[in-house]
């Protein structure tokens, strides 16, 4: 009885298959592609206005209103876009001194930032000063290696977040720099700093195995590289010591790169580390292309920078 039903259904399916066209491929798996665009900034340091024409280094560069129009046009071209920041939003112009970061957060919300990690200068008005500005931020703060549980920031930052764009799951986690010796203890209070590599291992396990993410991005304020202090953890070190991270978006060292750096991770797979200087004078753009045809990826992922 059951076997007969089964055979009948199968024959229907076969019939449909025959009617549908010329063979298996066109019916079964239509080729599907997807493009995810990641836009990023770091160390904007309250630079809201365009640099003046007299500026010695960055004349006529930057400006939030221009960044907004650029981001808008990229989103129009590809709605599957994430906008991220790697910390040090605060400190650097009187906008911060006068308004304590309110305008920075409001503008980032208007630009529809999806998430930011926390930089050392974001503690410049103390952890209470950061907390006080949170109502102005309509985006998430993601930091996986600061334990805020004994501070006012408890529950106000996330260890990771999974974004879904065009059915692609993008896992984002964040790493902050060691605050001791860099920021006055009175400012960060009982914030506990956790080891970045161990934290990254845990986060990538959760994002890859439990959340089944297709892409994993680390928002880092660790710094690109410390040549004079080779034992200090940096983005390049983190990249080489971990697996399953596709992109590290860095900050802190205000590093201007001519192009994103390709680094081999602990499994020998290529991944990217990027940072776009500082003060909002550049926007980083990384495009990830997905394809349902496995044979295309049989040769590995091609990286063009």
């Amino acid at each position: 009885m059951k076997r007969r039903d089964f055979l009948q259904k199968t024959s229907v399916a076969t019939g449909a298959l025959t009617l549908s066209g010329f063979g298996l491929q066109s019916f079964s798996i239509p080729v599907k592609t997807s493009q995810i665009t990641i836009l990023h900034t770091n160390d904007v340091h309250s630079h809201i206005d365009v640099f003046g024409p007299e500026d010695g280094r960055n004349a006529n560069k930057g400006g939030v209103a221009r960044r907004a129009s650029l981001i808008e046009s990229i989103r129009r071209e590809n709605p599957n876009t994430l906008l991220l920041d790697a910390g040090d939003i605060f400190q650097g112009t009187p906008y911060f001194n006068y308004y304590g970061g309110e305008l920075e957060f409001k503008l980032m919300s208007m630009l529809k930032y999806d998430a930011s990690t926390i930089g050392n200068h974001d503690f410049d008005n103390g952890i209470d000063g950061l907390y006080a500005q949170l109502p102005h931020a309509k985006f998430d703060f993601i930091c996986s290696n600061y334990d805020f549980s004994n501070t006012i920031m408890d529950t106000h930052s996330k260890p990771y977040r999974v974004f879904k764009k065009d059915n692609i799951k993008i896992g984002v986690f964040g790493l902050g720099i060691e605050l001791e010796g860099l920021v006055d203890k009175n400012m960060y209070k009982e914030t506990k700093y956790l080891d970045p590599i161990e934290t990254a291992q845990e986060m990538t396990r959760i994002l890859k195995d439990d959340e089944a993410c297709d892409l994993i991005i680390c928002l880092s304020h660790l710094g690109y590289d410390f040549k004079e202090n080779p034992n200090k953890i940096s983005d390049l070190k983190l990249a080489a010591a971990t697996k399953n991270i596709d992109l590290i978006i860095g900050g802190h060292t205000h590093t201007f790169l001519s192009k994103p750096t390709i680094v081999k991770n602990i499994e020998g797979k290529n991944m990217l580390v990027n940072q776009v200087g500082c003060y909002g004078i550049n926007l980083g753009r990384i495009d990830f292309y997905f394809d349902s045809e496995k044979n295309k990826s049989a040769h590995g992922t091609s990286i063009t920078v």
């Binding site: 560069k61 650029l70 997905f290 990826s297």
Partner: protein, 256 residues
């Protein structure tokens, strides 16, 4: 029976045809886009910023005082007019706060030469001047120090070969940078006395190698930014005309 696996195969195809196909990462492209004048300005954002900008500009450019001359931190070897001005201004503004809270007076002020971040130009002094002189958020602390700790502070200053701004301390060194005289309120520093030294959080925490403040359990945080002390001082005075004086000098004659 022999064709059963074939049916299963068809079924799999059927089901997969209805589900989202798995996507594989095939290509990554990375680049950097310069935020330059070739980009258009988003008018909504610009309009949102405008009132904030106008308020800041107006406030920064409001005239608070007048500077009689142009003063720089390279004007003297051991003390400078601008450094004396800053240290004295900090004393004048911080001491009433400290006295009100503790009933005690600040005995001396110590800032650092590198902390003078710009010149002060002849002419109008504005809030912007305070931001230029002191762009950082450093706050004032008053540290309780024993006379023995003060010896380390004096030794640091005598060997530093820099005009670190001081107020209320008088220091004379010889040609070998040894201390000839160190007095506070005209009196020698006594080992067993307690001295209240106003400085900033950066120096208290060992900035500029000023390691003599620690260990210390008696620190009063005034929660008062140096920049705000300067702004408050500018508001109180009409004309700023500081001078280099004899608060820290080197005696070049051997017979003294």
């Amino acid at each position: 029976m022999a064709f059963k696996p074939f049916f299963f195969g068809l079924l799999l195809v059927f089901f997969f045809g209805c589900k989202e196909p798995h996507l594989y990462l095939t290509k990554i492209e990375g680049k950097q886009i310069s935020i330059s004048d070739s980009l258009s300005t988003n008018n909504e954002i610009e309009a949102f910023i405008k009132p904030y900008r106008s308020h800041i500009q107006k406030d920064l450019d409001s005239v608070l005082a007048y500077s009689a001359g142009t003063y720089t931190k390279s004007d003297g070897d051991f003390n400078t007019a601008i450094g004396n001005f800053m240290a004295d201004a900090v004393f004048d503004e911080a001491n009433p706060i400290f006295k009100k809270r503790t009933g005690k007076n600040i005995d001396m002020v110590l800032l650092n030469h590198g902390g003078i971040r710009s010149i002060m130009s002849k002419g109008n002094v504005t809030t912007r001047t305070a931001f230029e002189l002191m762009p950082f958020e450093n706050t004032l602390l008053v540290v309780e120090m024993k006379g023995t700790q003060m010896d380390s502070l004096i030794a640091y200053l005598s060997k530093s070969k820099k005009a670190h701004p001081i107020s209320k301390l008088k220091l004379i060194i010889d040609t070998n940078f040894n201390v000839v005289e160190a007095t506070i309120n005209g009196k020698n520093i006594e080992d067993n006395n307690t001295y209240y030294v106003a400085t900033n959080d950066y120096l208290f925490n060992g900035g500029d190698n000023m390691t003599f403040f620690k260990p210390n359990n008696s620190v009063h945080d005034l929660n008062y930014k140096i920049r705000n002390a300067l702004i408050d001082h500018f508001k109180k005075v009409d004309t700023i005309s500081p001078v280099r004086d004899d608060r820290f000098i080197q005696k070049t004659t051997k017979n003294n």
